[in-house]
C-alpha cells in the first residue's frame, strides 16, 4: 500500500519519528513500519471527508473543571523501596550513562 501511495509517510520520516520516540529500530523495522504506518495514515484520511469547520476539538470526555487538592503534605515513599527497583543506583540517586545533550 505504501507503494501505491508513497507520499503517506517516507522512510526518512519514520527514522525521524523513531528518534523523537527514542526507539532504536533496525532497518527491517523501519521498512515494515513505513509500510504499515502508510496504510493506517491513508485510512485516517477518510476524516478529511468531514466538514469540521466550527467543530471544537474534544480532548476530554468530561466537562469537569477546577479539580484540586489541599496543599497538605503526605508522607513520601520509602527511598530504599524506590531505589531497589532502579537499574543502577549510586549515592541514593539514579545513575544514568553520560547525557551528551543539554535539555
Amino acid at each position: 500500500m505504501a507503494d501505491e501511495n508513497p507520499t503517506a509517510i517516507t522512510r526518512a520520516e519514520v527514522e525521524h519519528v523513531a528518534g523523537l520516540a527514542r526507539l532504536g529500530l533496525s532497518a527491517d523495522e523501519v521498512d515494515r513500519l513505513t509500510h504499515e504506518l502508510a496504510g493506517i495514515l491513508i485510512h485516517a484520511r477518510d476524516m478529511g471527508e468531514l466538514d469540521l469547520s466550527g467543530v471544537e476539538p474534544t480532548s476530554h470526555p468530561l466537562p469537569l473543571v477546577n479539580v484540586v487538592r489541599p496543599d497538605e503534605i503526605s508522607p513520601s515513599l520509602d527511598r530504599d523501596e524506590v531505589l531497589a527497583a532502579a537499574p543502577a543506583v549510586q549515592d541514593n540517586q539514579f545513575r544514568v550513562p553520560r547525557i551528551l545533550e543539554a535539555p
Binding site: 525521524h16 528518534g19 523523537l20 527514542r22 480532548s59 476530554h60 468530561l62 469537569l64 473543571v65 477546577n66 479539580v67 484540586v68 487538592r69 489541599p70 496543599d71 497538605e72 503534605i73 503526605s74 513520601s76 515513599l77 527511598r79 524506590v82 531505589l83 549510586q90 549515592d91 541514593n92 540517586q93 539514579f94 545513575r95 544514568v96 550513562p97 553520560r98 547525557i99 551528551l100 545533550e101 543539554a102 535539555p103
Partner: protein, 487 residues
C-alpha cells in the same frame, strides 16, 4: 563603545519562579529545598506507571494573587499540556506545563517609571536535578550522571515578558521589581542563588526602533542579578560585533559562564523544537471563579511600589533605602513595627539601623528576621537613645551588637557597660585640655601649617580626645570645644 549606540537591543525575559507552596504541584510530597536525595518522592512525582496528578489548590491561588498584583487578564479557562521530550531528570519524559491556554495573560509592571508588558504567566512542574560526575563535572565531558527527583514536580510559575526591555540595567530593574512583588504577595522565596528564581534572557539587536526584530539568542544560567546584567551586556557586545563584521546571528541557546565571563553555545538536542504538545488528559481545565478572585483581591497586601512611596513620604527616607526595606524579606514590616514603638526617636534612625547594622548582621549570620534576638521594640529603644543624645552612631553600633547577640535591652547594655555618651562640657573640656597639653608639638604644627596640614593635625587631636573619652564623648560637642581651644 560605538557599537552600543548603533545597535538597539531588544530583550525579553523568562522568569521561572518556584512557588512557596507546602507541597508539589501535582502531589502531596513536600516542596522543600535541600532534603537528602530522593526523599521527597512518591508515585506521582516519580512518574510511576498508573499514578495520576491532582492540582495543588494553592498554586492556583498564588497565580491569582500575581494576577491582581500585575493586572493580568485571567482567562475563563486554562489548560495543562504535555511537553514531550526525553530527559532523565523528567520522570515521565514529558513536562506538564501550559501551552496554548496559560493561567495568566497580558500583565504589566512598572520599572522605574517605564511600563514593561508581560505576555503571559503559566504553571508548570519543575524537573529533578542531575549531577554530572567525572570529567570535570560538566555535562558534555561527564562520565555519568546521578539524578535526584526531590525537585521534580515542584510548582513553577513561568513569567514571560514582552520584548519591551532595552538594556541590561532595565532587565535588572524588571527582575528586581518582579522579585519584590512576588515576595510581597507571599508566593515565592525568589532566591536566585538557590534556584528558586531562574531567569533566561532573549536578546536580539536591530539598527533602529523602526526595524523588525533581529534573530534572538537565548541566554541561560544567570544565577544572580549581577550575572544577569553582565551576561546581557556581554551578549549585546557579542552580537554587535558579529553584525558589524557581517556575520549572521544564529538562533540558539547560549550558556552564561560566570567564571569565564562569557556566553557559549550549548549543544542542543536533536529535533528540540518538536515537543508535540497536546492537552494533558489526566488533568481538567482551571476555571477561576469570581469568588476565588474576589477572595484573593481582598487579601492582597500592599504592593512594593505603593509601600516604597508611602515610606518615603512618611519617613523622609531615600528611594534606595526604601528599596532595601521592601526588598529584604520582612525588613519593612520590622522597620514599621519599630517606628510604631518609638518614644521620641526618629524614624530615620530606625531606617539607618535596619539598612545598616541589622542588614549587615543578617547577611553575615544568614539568619532571618524571625530568628534574631532583638525585636522591633528593642530597635526602637536604640533609636530613642540615639535621638535623645545618649548614644552616638558609633556607640549605638556597639550596643546593637550586644543586643542582637543575646536579646538584652539597649538601655540595660548602656547601663551595664557604661556606654552612655558624655555630653558634659566641663568633663569634655578637661579631657581636651589634657590632650592639648600632651601634644603641644601637634598643636604648634597646626598653627604653623597650611590648610591640609591643619586638617590633618586637627583630626589627630580629635581622635586622641575621642580615645581619651573611651569613645563616649559627644562628637559634636568635642568638635565645638576643640575649635574653641585651637583659635
Amino acid at each position: 563603545m560605538s557599537t552600543k549606540t548603533q545597535w538597539m537591543p531588544v530583550i525579553g525575559l523568562e522568569v521561572h519562579c518556584e512557588l512557596a507552596t507546602n507541597t508539589k504541584l501535582f502531589c502531596s510530597c513536600a516542596n522543600a529545598f535541600g532534603a537528602p536525595p530522593n526523599t521527597n518522592i512518591c508515585p506521582v512525582c516519580l512518574g510511576l506507571p498508573g499514578s495520576l496528578p491532582v492540582l495543588n489548590a494553592r498554586a492556583v491561588e498564588f497565580s491569582l494573587r500575581l494576577a491582581e498584583a500585575l493586572n493580568f487578564t485571567v482567562p475563563d479557562k486554562s489548560v495543562f499540556a504535555r511537553k514531550n521530550y526525553f530527559y532523565p531528570d523528567m520522570p515521565k519524559d514529558y513536562q506538564v506545563t501550559q501551552f496554548e491556554l496559560p493561567i495568566l495573560q497580558a500583565g504589566v509592571i512598572d520599572v522605574d517609571g517605564v511600563t514593561i508588558g508581560i505576555e503571559r504567566a503559566h504553571l508548570e512542574e519543575d524537573t529533578g536535578k542531575s549531577s554530572h560526575m567525572g570529567g570535570g563535572g560538566r555535562i558534555h565531558d561527564a562520565e555519568y550522571s546521578l539524578v535526584d527527583y526531590n525537585r521534580a514536580g515542584v510548582p513553577l510559575l513561568e513569567i514571560v515578558s514582552r520584548p519591551d526591555i532595552r538594556s541590561a540595567e532595565q532587565a535588572r530593574g524588571y527582575v528586581s521589581e518582579l522579585r519584590a512583588v512576588l515576595l510581597a504577595i507571599g508566593v515565592s522565596d525568589v532566591k536566585m542563588e538557590e534556584g528558586s528564581m531562574r531567569v533566561d534572557a532573549n536578546i536580539s539587536l536591530r539598527a533602529s526602533e523602526a526595524d523588525e526584530f533581529g534573530t534572538k539568542v537565548e541566554i541561560k544560567n544567570m544565577n544572580s542579578l549581577r550575572s544577569l546584567g553582565r551576561a546581557i551586556d556581554h551578549e549585546i557586545d557579542r552580537q554587535a560585533e558579529a553584525l558589524e563584521t557581517g556575520e549572521t546571528i544564529i538562533q540558539e541557546t547560549r550558556h552564561w559562564d560566570e567564571n569565564e565571563n562569557r556566553t557559549s553555545g550549548m549543544r542542543s538536542k536533536e529535533g528540540s523544537s518538536d515537543y508535540r504538545y497536546f492537552p494533558e488528559p489526566d488533568l481538567v481545565p482551571v476555571a477561576p471563579t469570581a469568588e476565588q478572585r474576589a477572595a484573593v483581591r481582598d487579601s492582597l497586601p500592599e504592593l512594593p511600589a505603593r509601600r516604597r512611596e508611602r515610606l518615603i513620604e512618611a519617613w523622609g527616607i531615600t528611594l534606595p533605602d526604601a528599596r532595601i526595606l521592601v526588598d529584604v524579606p520582612g525588613l519593612a514590616d520590622y522597620a514599621e513595627a519599630a517606628v510604631a514603638a518609638l518614644a521620641g526617636g526618629a524614624a530615620r534612625d530606625v531606617v539607618n539601623l535596619c539598612t545598616g547594622d541589622l542588614l549587615a548582621y543578617l547577611n553575615e549570620t544568614g539568619r532571618t528576621l524571625a530568628a534574631i534576638a532583638l525585636d522591633p521594640a528593642g530597635l526602637a529603644d536604640l533609636a530613642d537613645l540615639i535621638g535623645d543624645g545618649t548614644l552616638s552612631r558609633s556607640l549605638a553600633q556597639e550596643v546593637f551588637a550586644a543586643c542582637v547577640a543575646d536579646g538584652s535591652s539597649p538601655r540595660a547594655v548602656v547601663a551595664e557597660k557604661g556606654l552612655a555618651q558624655v555630653s558634659d562640657t566641663g568633663e569634655l573640656g578637661t579631657i581636651l585640655d589634657a590632650v592639648i597639653a600632651a601634644n603641644a608639638d601637634a598643636v604648634a604644627q597646626y598653627h604653623a601649617g597650611d590648610d591640609k596640614e591643619r586638617k590633618k593635625k586637627r583630626g589627630f587631636l580629635m581622635g586622641e580626645a575621642m580615645k581619651a573619652s573611651k569613645g563616649q564623648g559627644n562628637p559634636q560637642l568635642l568638635n565645638q570645644l576643640l575649635d574653641e581651644r585651637l583659635v
